[in-house]
């Protein structure tokens, strides 16, 4: 049974990634959105390097947050619309496992590319090089939590009106702690302080999310199918 479950788990991840690839440039699109939002800031704040450097970590985190949030809303929506969700709920594997597989696939196709591209953007915003490694670690610990928490929101909004805006409303407040610790980790290492406490908190949030979020998402999905 456990063997079957693990097999189904990977089967689902594989299918989600296949779908993402077939859909063409999904991950590309999110990375592009990330880049565009980051570019908006120098445009609106003005190009003074002092200010930009000062707020670069914040900009990258806010943009990452908005990108993940935007990519979130289709996580279950298309399955809901085309009837696949009914069948996934009726599958004999526990729904929590299925949700976790979808979340992992979501992170692999969205959060992960963001991490890869972020150093380039940090360079563009004149971030001090001493912050790069912390930025990468913080993003690696933070983006999976964003996906996990976002999945709850994505499940809750199924069948609602204005789902895009509604999702942001539900999910952004829950993202705020991750944003705060993510930014302050980078700021700490930019000012030569230890960023360990913040990173530990990010890690803790990730583990807590890993355990709790799939349950909540699965519960939300079940009620959405009613």
């Amino acid at each position: 049974m456990a063997g079957k479950s693990i097999q189904v788990f990977f089967k689902l991840i594989q299918r989600e990634i296949l779908l993402a690839i077939r859909h063409g440039s999904d991950s590309c699109m999110i990375v592009l959105f990330f880049v565009i939002v980051v570019v908006l800031f120098p445009l609106s704040v003005g190009p003074e390097p002092g200010i930009l450097t000062r707020i670069s970590a914040g900009i990258i985190w806010v943009s990452a947050l908005l990108s993940v949030m935007l990519s979130m809303d289709r996580l279950f929506q298309s399955d809901y619309e085309d009837g696949n969700l009914d069948l996934l709920i009726l599958a004999s594997e526990p729904l929590e496992l299925i949700v976790l597989a979808k979340t992992v696939a979501h992170w692999l196709t969205t959060g992960f590319p963001l991490i890869i591209i972020s150093p380039v953007l940090a360079l563009f915003l004149n971030m001090d090089t001493s912050g790069y490694s912390t930025l990468l670690i913080a993003l690696t610990l933070g983006t999976p939590t964003l996906s996990l928490v976002g999945a709850i929101g994505a499940a809750l909004i199924l069948g609602a009106r204005r789902s895009g805006v509604l999702l942001s409303l539900l999910v952004l407040p829950l993202f705020i702690p991750i944003l705060i610790f993510g930014v302050s980790a980078v700021d700490a290492s930019l000012t030569n302080l230890s960023s360990k406490p913040q990173l530990l908190i990010l890690g803790g949030l990730f583990l807590a999310g890993l355990v709790l979020c799939p349950w909540a998402s699965a519960a939300a999905l079940r009620q959405a199918a009613e």
């Binding site: 089967k11 779908l19 077939r22 085309d82 009837g83 696949n84 069948l87 009726l90 004999s92 009613e226």
Partner: protein, 218 residues
């Protein structure tokens, strides 16, 4: 002998009582038609049978055991075909079917999927992306799921919608075969499929004059 039955089922949807005190029972090798005018609650009853909806009142039993006691097991015994076609348009016809076949069992051989496609004459489309399918072809792809893995209970919601006559024949043949193997089928439909069966008129349980006490203090 396998049997599937519901007792005193009451269902509320969108703050309305859809049906009340509904009993049904289906035994091995039987087909139950759900009949009734539009809006009488056929689709609702099927979703209830599948476990997608919960009744407000009443019990559903499989072999005299409440289905909510071991939901995982019950779900592995059911094939549900709803109004929507559960087709991923970006995947090919074969990939669509194969995914569900592999989700529902450990089958490895390609032949099962291929055979099901053949049965519903979709084999010539198997490598085509599903977005090219017409309404009836999608429905057929959805129905082909029934023939990939064995599940004793089939729940079909208007399965003959937009099917051409050849496909309807394939469907009735599949149902008859399933009957002979000892399966149980519940179908909501307005057309008469050529299958030996009982039928249940849902409109008998639909209480259009809702008594005010049902809603006391809602």
């Amino acid at each position: 002998m396998t049997s599937f039955s519901g007792k005193k089922l009451t269902c509320i949807r969108g703050e309305r009582v859809v049906f009340n005190d509904l009993d049904f029972s289906i035994n091995e090798g039987e087909v139950l038609y759900l009949k009734g005018p539009n809006g009488s609650g056929k689709s609702t009853l099927l979703r209830l049978m599948a476990g997608l909806l919960r009744p407000v009142n009443g019990t559903l039993t499989w072999n005299n055991k409440n289905i909510y006691q071991d939901e995982g097991l019950f779900r592995s015994l059911t094939h549900y075909v709803g109004h929507q076609d559960a087709v991923k348009t970006a995947l090919t016809v074969e990939e669509n079917l194969r995914f569900w076949a592999e989700m529902n069992s450990d089958i490895k051989e390609k032949s099962t999927v291929q055979k099901a496609l053949q049965e519903f004459s979709l084999d010539s489309f198997s490598t085509l992306p599903a977005r090219f399918l017409s309404a009836g072809q999608r429905k057929r792809l959805n129905l082909a799921r029934l023939c990939t893995t064995w599940a004793p209970l089939w729940l079909l919601d208007e399965p003959s919608n937009s099917l051409d006559s050849d496909s309807v024949n394939v469907l009735t043949a599949a149902i008859s075969t399933h009957q002979k193997k000892g399966g149980i089928v519940a179908i909501a439909t307005h057309e008469n499929l050529d299958v030996h069966s009982n039928s249940l008129d849902i409109s008998m349980f639909t209480n259009f004059k809702i008594k005010s006490r049902d809603y006391d203090g809602w």
